[in-house]
């Protein structure tokens, strides 16, 4: 099995699906000849032809709308929004249209599109190349929201998303494109090749939507994480010396409540981590859910470790980012609580 980094895994998912299904096509800003600013679509146009992987005008609303129309026709479009920070011009089409087409037409029309978008910090991109807007989508009924944390999952989840009959948004943590970044930013990032989850089958397989994965078993507390924070949480557990169980949610909506509840009931403590700003972030929903489902098992307040309630600041990336030190501190606090 070849070792792939996350970009290669995503590229392979699209390649596999374009090969299997003539209704799958890919478009977005700079994804055609050039292969995308993060190179996720490299080679797809050359291999599958100009009309199957092509550049789009700089109009995120138009890109989503075109994908909805294509979906209504019967295609399975895969679109790239160049940075999650630029998804907002397409917000109306996603929220008012893609998410509600099946419901409002009672299944007469559907929008089985897949939207990929790089998200989170990692390139010193300041406030408009670093955002984590997932909570702005988890509030919207009718869309599924996915965040992979490694190459194997990225490919399997992306294929599952393309095959899914509902609109799916995949937030791709750009910090993880090249390696399992664990938040110790002074250290060099080790390449994916050294990580077991970089072993990615070349062909077709899926990782089911809606299923979380326990990536580290433990008894003292539960960490709910996704994307980059899965790796940070593991590093923090080591750093704090806490026997933490780390859950990689993988899909945010629908959330795998069973895995979450089983773990928190076991450990009695919970730390929620994400890079997005805190207030009304997806961590709030997780906290509410855990509290509702596990109240009588909780031995300490649920803690949230998150980005601050500010835009993403260029010069303060490492003070903004909820790194392993902050997560470890929270773990210790929760253990004492």
């Amino acid at each position: 099995m070849p070792a792939m980094n996350m970009i290669q895994a995503l590229n392979s998912a699209m390649d596999v699906m374009m090969t299997r299904d003539p209704n799958v096509l890919v478009f977005g800003e700079d994804v055609g000849y050039f292969g995308g600013v993060f190179r996720a679509t490299e080679g797809l146009q050359k291999k599958h032809g100009l009309t199957r992987c092509f550049d789009a005008p700089i109009a995120e609303g138009g890109i989503v709308a075109a994908a909805i129309g294509m979906g209504a026709y019967g295609l399975r479009p895969v679109i790239e929004i160049q940075f999650a920070d630029y998804i907002y011009p397409g917000y109306d089409q996603i929220v008012s249209e893609a998410a509600r087409l099946r419901y409002r037409s009672a299944g007469d029309f559907t929008a089985p599109l897949t939207l990929r978008t790089p998200y989170g910090g990692g390139i010193f991109g300041g406030q408009t190349h670093s955002q984590s807007p997932e909570a702005l989508f988890t509030h919207v009924a009718g869309i599924k929201t996915v965040v992979p944390s490694n190459p194997y999952d990225a490919k399997g989840l992306l294929i599952a998303a393309i095959e899914d009959d509902d609109p799916v948004i995949i937030f791709e943590p750009k910090r993880l494109y090249n390696g399992p970044f664990d938040g110790w930013h002074e250290n060099p990032v080790s390449p994916w090749a050294k990580h077991p989850d970089s072993e990615v089958p070349e062909g077709h397989y899926t990782v089911p939507l809606g299923k979380a994965k326990v990536v580290r078993e433990g008894n003292d507390l539960t960490v709910l994480a996704y994307g980059t924070m899965v790796h940070v949480a593991q590093a923090a557990a080591v750093h704090a010396g806490v026997d933490a169980e780390v859950i990689d949610l993988r899909t945010l909506i629908p959330i795998d409540i069973e895995t979450v509840v089983a773990s928190v009931k076991k450990t009695g403590r919970c730390v929620i981590v994400h890079e997005a700003t805190r207030t009304s972030g997806f961590g709030a929903e997780l906290s509410a859910l855990v509290q509702e489902e596990c109240f009588y098992h909780l031995e300490a307040p649920i803690a949230r470790v998150t980005g601050w309630d500010t835009p993403y600041p260029h010069a303060f990336e490492w003070e903004y980012f909820p790194g392993p030190q902050r997560v470890a501190d929270a773990m210790k606090r929760v253990m004492e609580g």
């Binding site: 138009g62 129309g69 008012s96 007469d108 629908p254």
Partner: protein, 413 residues
């Protein structure tokens, strides 16, 4: 020294206002109407640049004497014209009944297309049955022309047990894939760019079906209008882009959308999209320009923009009172007349129709609508009958996830 000038006058903000408000005399003197037959009919493969003047004139076929004249005369057979007339008359009868039903409290909301019936009626005739339309809430005539059951339209309006939208949608937000009628959205403009995506898909698949999209002149201000034109232009999508300029967007006259500064058709020029302005109350002219646009699309010549110049004779919706913002009888004074009367009079002038025929048609339409009404009302009107409450929780996703299932249990249904 050629230094930058400063102003000779202070700047001032211009806010456009219509010529007449309630109480003012009706004033259509600013409206320049080209004579019927005057606009040239270029080849379908003429360039957008070459045909750009068509965006500033008005394609008209029916002249003052109700005779069809000029190069755009589509030379429809009497049978075709009668079919079109019938669609318009049934649509008007349907609108009247449903409006009344709302007034009687049998539904929450209704919207008429009175005065604009020619647009969708003529287009339905000019399109193939399986071309996909992306309508606004004023193209009910498309469904009627394509034989969608009136009773199902009413069931939707009553949100009753037989409502095809299962009680989820505001009245008039129909959907029927089988009739090439895309699910109507409450969000203005969104369907316009989706239609282009559908057309791109059809082209991608080497299909033969084209798309036909609608937007109100007020809604052209939304970004989706611009997206639609951009994508249609770039990918040469087989789509007809219709702007229905009925002069009003709720209480805002078309000047608030920019209609005093240029025509809506002329928006096409900057995208290299051939654009036509047509007398929207002239059934034959609408048919003719649609046929031209459809032929272009089918021949891989790409999109066409059509501005239908018409007038919203009805209130915006049952929630609206136009007496608050425009002279009461402005509709009657509309210089381009009524589309039903004009086609009727043309048929009569051609010796193909009579007043009695027309009365019979109106009676047939009223009977048809009444019969459908009885049937739908027998199922139930709003609040009397409705789909199972379970339906509230279905179709959010294809498979209902645990949290929504659990909410359904919470409600106990």
């Amino acid at each position: 020294m050629n230094a930058p000038l400063k102003n000779t006058v202070p700047l001032s903000l211009r806010v456009p206002e219509p010529r007449a408000r309630p109480g003012d005399p009706i004033d259509f003197s600013g409206l320049v109407v080209a004579p019927a037959g005057a606009a040239p009919r270029p080849d379908i493969n003429a360039s957008a640049y070459a045909v750009r003047d068509l965006a500033f004139t008005l394609v008209r076929v029916l002249d003052e004497a109700n005779v069809a004249v000029g190069p755009w005369n589509p030379k429809l057979s009497p049978a075709q014209m009668k079919r079109g007339l019938r669609t318009m008359v049934v649509t008007r009868a349907y609108d009247e009944r449903m409006y009344r039903m709302q007034r009687q409290g049998k539904t929450s909301f209704y919207m008429k297309c009175t005065g604009e019936e020619a647009v969708a009626s003529a287009q339905a005739l000019a399109l193939a049955e399986d071309d996909m339309c992306f309508p606004t809430y004023r193209q009910q005539a498309l469904l009627i022309a394509r034989g969608y059951p009136l009773v199902d339209m009413m069931n939707q309006i009553y949100s009753n047990a037989a409502d095809p939208c299962k009680g989820r949608q505001l009245p008039v937000m129909y959907t029927s894939k089988a009739h090439g009628f895309f699910s109507i959205s409450g969000n203005l403009g969104t369907q316009f760019s989706q239609a282009v995506g559908w057309a791109m898909a059809s082209a991608y698949k080497g299909d033969s079906r084209i798309a036909c999209a609608y937007i109100g002149e007020g809604s052209t201000a939304e970004g989706d209008f611009h997206s639609a034109l951009t994508f249609a232009s770039v990918y040469d999508a087989p789509v007809i882009l219709n702007v229905v300029n009925n002069q009003w967007a709720i209480s805002s006259f078309q000047g608030i959308a920019g209609g005093e500064e240029s025509t809506f058709a002329s928006r096409g020029i900057g995208y290299g999209i051939p654009a036509l302005r047509v007398d929207g109350n002239d059934f034959l002219a609408v048919y003719a320009v649609t046929q031209w646009a459809a032929d272009r699309a089918r021949a891989n010549l790409g999109p066409t923009l059509i501005e239908h110049f018409t007038y919203r004779a009805a209130p915006h919706s049952t929630s609206d009172d136009p007496g608050r913002y425009r002279p009461v009888n402005e509709a009657d004074a509309w210089p381009l007349g009524d589309p039903v009367e004009r086609l009727r009079d043309h048929l009569i002038a051609s010796g193909e129709w009579s007043d009695d025929d027309h009365k019979a048609l109106e009676k047939e339409a009223a009977d048809l609508v009444r019969a459908a009404g009885k049937e739908a009302e027998a199922i139930g009107t709003l609040g009397q009958s409705r789909p199972s409450v379970k339906e509230m929780f279905e179709d959010v996703y294809k498979e209902t996830p645990w949290h929504i299932r659990r909410q359904r249990q919470e409600l106990g249904v």
